[in-house]
Amino acid sequence: MTHGLTDAQFFDMVSRFLGPYYIALALMNGLAALYLWRSDQTKTWFRLPIPLTGKSLPITNVIGWLVFALLFTILAGIGGKSGGAQLLELPESWREAINTYTDPIWYSVITTVGLVVVYVFRGFFVKPAVAWIIWNLMWLFLGLSMTDSDFFEIVAKPDNVPIVMLVFLLAFFTWLGTYQAVINDRRKENGEPPMEKVNDEKVLVWPDLVYTELICMIALTAFLIFWAIALPAPLEEAASSVKTPNPSKAPWYFLGLQEMLVYYDPWMAGVVLPSLIVAGLMAVPYIDFNKAGNGYYTIKERQFSYIVFQFGFLEMWVTLIVLGTLLRGPNWNFFGPYEHWDAHKVEALNNVNLSEFFWEKMLGRSLPGTLALADISPSLDPSNWVIVPWLGRIVDPFLQFFSLLFGRELPGTLLVLGYFIALPPIMALTVFRKFYERMGFIRFMVMANLLLFMGSLPIKMLLRWIFDLKYLIAIPEYFFNF
């Protein structure tokens, strides 16, 4: 990659990429302008008065996108020239600022606020002109950032290319879905049926669908072949069991789970929570009792399920994958997008368990110990059992475990039990009263527990960031940390 390249060589390499890149973006805008013009979708944004003549020139969306195309062409001219990439760098101060504001706390806060703003003002953001400008800015940001060697190294790593694709595809399809939902919600307010209903005339599958499928297949085949030729698939040096790469990362689609390891023990992050995600997805149609919104895009008619799904998918699954892939470097330390992955970066780890905090800091005493059978009376020691000695060996670990759970770890145990056992009935009696009445006991409990498990991740993140809390319940003796 960028290793062993001088600055000049690096900028030359980036220039070879930026030329075609900006030309493609210019083409994208040019084609958009052409399409809008030919399909009579020209819209006048404002009229520009021409001095002295008293006339005015209408500035339309077609002209707007042509200007964009022109700007990208100019960028292609500058950046595509050998070594010209150097002229298109983001200012150092911007990069510093972005590095600062992408640390896990800011990153999470900003994406959350961003998604909430986009959701609340979706009527504005789905306007084609607004969405198109944001779309262009995303590409421009990527292009400008590529001139940074640290950014380039992460994003252009073959195995990370799919993530960049995922981000852009999700942005596009989220827009497409929301755009139609906003229209349908507006139609509903005016007492009209959803758009999908208007278009329900029947057509023959041959030729209408069969040909669409054929064209899709050809286009996709062409795309795959182009991709395969343009970009070699990842292949690193031969496997070696002695050379551990740092960082060691799971395949990208599991990096959300790996990122959860920061906040959870492996048994939660790697086993329990993934199982619950799968089980929860399967439970969705049986939990969602709302009959509205079946077969058409809508948000208003199913706001609760929409928000919960988007929280789980865009906010947690996808943003954690992006964080885990692009912003986690050696030793799983955090690195800004323009920061060099320094394997010697040291981050102070001063996280404490709730039990340590409670007994040592608050009460000023040492942690209570374990209670074993032998502690109660030497005659109870399992090795002294004459009758059924194996029973003693099974009872003893149980006793020790529960003595820790309800002794040393009592504060955390009470909190967790309260969260999972006391909260569902409280939810049923208060905010979710109507849900409970409609859903019945079992369905409600399943939903409440799934929601609580889902909510436990942001709660644990907040506890970590604010109180440096490691685990609520910490029983490493039995691999039981929560």
Partner: protein, 258 residues
């Protein structure tokens, strides 16, 4: 030349394969859907909005097509690849540098990444249009299983090139299984399964061992993942795909407003 086409279409061989004239009129456009094996997955007619790209995003179809691409390229790759520690990496290198069909490997790898993304987008669309609601609840569940199998296909395939990326990604991914409650040797409750004071769950008998076939990612793992990747999981996917498509039809075709 026009006559040649005529002769071919009038021949007994042609007529034995295609049991109707060209689908240029309404009657034969219906007949072709009913008599052609590959087309009979489709209904004869469909609501216009059900095939609108803005509605379907075409992502289910794209995913299925990618599965076919992966199957075809995968079978061809099997000719060139030996799943042993000794040969795996060299064979992949040969695909890149020597064999003229080496591009298959790039297509297979990128197609696999793309398939994971398109499955997500398909589910995203199905969720946004509420298409999992009755009567399609069960098909959503089948879809979640397919999602799981897609991820497993990609995960098992990840190991096969036997490069640093492969081995360590699988090591990291499978290390989680160590912590499986009760069944992992570093999982909570592991001490509970003892027999006569001997631990039943050790690093040679736990969930991770079952996954890897060994204590560490090695020869056994490569063989195990190869068979899972090439035979076991694709068979499962094929079965579930058949059910998934059949249920799409039986549950009333593509969703739409009542």
């Amino acid at each position: 030349m026009a006559d040649l086409g005529e002769i071919i279409r009038e021949s007994q061989i042609w007529k034995s394969v295609f049991r109707h004239p060209m689908p240029v009129d309404r009657r034969n456009r219906i007949v072709v859907m009913l008599t052609n094996f590959f087309l009979h997955l489709h209904p004869v007619s469909i609501k216009k909005q059900g095939i609108a790209l803005s509605y379907t995003w075409c992502m289910g179809g794209v995913t299925f097509f990618l599965f076919l691409v992966e199957t075809v390229t995968g079978v061809l790759l099997m000719f060139y690849y030996r799943p042993t520690v000794e040969w795996a990496y060299t064979d992949i290198q040969m695909l890149r540098d020597v064999h003229s069909l080496g591009i298959l490997r790039e297509i297979h790898r990128w197609g696999a990444h793309a398939m994971v993304i398109t499955v997500w987008l398909h589910m995203y669309r199905v969720f946004l249009t509420g298409s999992y609601k009755p009567p399609r609840e069960f098909n959503w569940v089948v879809g979640v299983f397919l999602l799981l199998l897609t991820l497993l296909l990609s995960f098992t395939g990840y190991l096969l090139p036997w490069d640093q990326l492969a081995v360590w990604a699988i090591t990291v991914g499978s290390n989680m299984a160590r912590a499986t409650p009760i069944l992992g040797h570093e999982g909570p409750g592991q001490q509970l399964l003892t027999l006569g004071g001997v631990d039943m769950i050790t690093n040679a008998s736990d969930a991770r061992f079952a996954l890897l076939g060994a204590r560490e990612v090695g020869e056994e793992t490569l063989n195990r993942f190869y068979i899972l990747h090439c035979i076991a999981i694709p068979l499962g996917v094929a079965l579930l795909l058949a059910i998934h498509f059949w249920r799409v039809r039986k549950d009333g075709g593509i969703s739409g407003p009542m």
